[in-house]
């Protein structure tokens, strides 16, 4: 896949990720919104072939992925790092049944973070996944988005593995809290 994204504006990496998910035959996408995922969420809603579901909390999405899988659909869950802890017990569903999970997590609390309340869960996100046996991959720069998501999708859907792909806050950029004067 082409990846001349570094200088592009708006960034093309959400499109790279979306196209990769399409290549892997993902049929369902669910999310608790995050600004970093907003373009990917719009792409999902605009694609009639993808069944898109907005959640009230992230663990709903884990259970949704399980139901989709037993029904023959590949499903992906989008969330922000603050939602990772909400998923912990529900992840036992995926490991007990050895079901694929692919979740894409936009990171907060790790790079130029303005909101101290984001830091505890952001710092623990990777560890919380690993504690529950989830493989953690990371996207550090836009040009590796497609490759990392592709590796994660293969590991999940071909390898029956639970995989979280973390999107670095450094790449997502600083949230603008106040209008520049």
């Amino acid at each position: 896949m082409s990846s001349s994204t570094r200088a592009a504006s708006p960034p093309d990496w959400p499109l790279d990720i979306f196209n990769t998910l399409k290549e892997y035959g993902v049929a369902q996408i669910s999310y608790v919104p995050d600004a970093g995922h907003s373009r990917l969420i719009n792409l999902a809603h605009d694609d009639e072939a993808i069944k898109t579901t907005v959640l009230t909390t992230e663990e709903e999405g884990i259970a949704l992925c399980a139901g989709a899988w037993i029904g023959g659909d590949r499903s992906v869950l989008l969330m922000q790092s603050s939602g990772v802890g909400n998923c912990v017990n529900m992840l036992s569903l995926m490991s007990s049944c050895r079901m694929p999970l692919l979740t894409l997590v936009t990171m907060r609390g790790e790079w130029a973070e303005f909101n101290p309340w984001q830091i505890p869960m952001g710092s623990a996100a990777s560890g919380a996944f690993e504690l529950m046996g989830v493989t953690v991959l990371r996207i550090q720069s836009p040009d590796e988005s497609a490759e990392v998501v592709s590796a994660g999708a293969s590991l999940a859907f071909d390898g029956d593995r639970q995989v979280a792909v973390l999107l670095s806050q450094r790449m997502l950029g600083k949230k603008k809290w106040v209008k520049p004067r």
Binding site: A63, L64, G67, I70, G71, M90, L93
Partner: protein, 203 residues
Amino acid sequence: MGEAKVMSHSFGSLDRREAVKALLADRKDLLVVTGLGSPSYDVFAAGEHDGNFYLWGAMGGAAMVGLGLALAQPKRPVVVVTGDGEQMMGLGSLLTVAVRKPRNFTVAVLDNGHFGETGMQLSHSGLGVRLSVIAQGAGFPSVTEIVDLDGIADYRPRLHSLSDGPRFARIKIAPGNPERVLPPRDGVFVKSRFRKNLGYSVS
């Protein structure tokens, strides 16, 4: 005393095993997801079936497993059979189901007003919460209260509809635990059997 008032909240008289057996009678191509604890035992006792997916954990997740399945299989009717405690742990999922509007989907809650698996402590339902009102407020187009076997018989054909969901049914059952009958708890086995039944190869 205020507490005495809520304690007088009336409980159902329907036998849970009879209720579930009647609900799933002549089930045809119905796919069933069960919430952990007694609903899993009830559905298993009603008849083992490759189209059953039993949860033994993941409390609060049954309705969402059912939603994912219903979206994946829009030409098959899907029902979640769960308990009031399980559903209330995942109360937000009722909102998510209601706005997603899967037409082929029913959430059936066996409501005995207690946490049956853990010593029969009063649940929020037993203390006065009305799940049907919550489902109505969430926007379920179909909300039904069932209190007897006639009600189950009347409701059963609606489970098979692919057009007027999502439906919510509160089945008011008697408190008390019948003897346990245990469905398979090997999740990998149940998953693979379920997928194979739908025509998917086992990896």
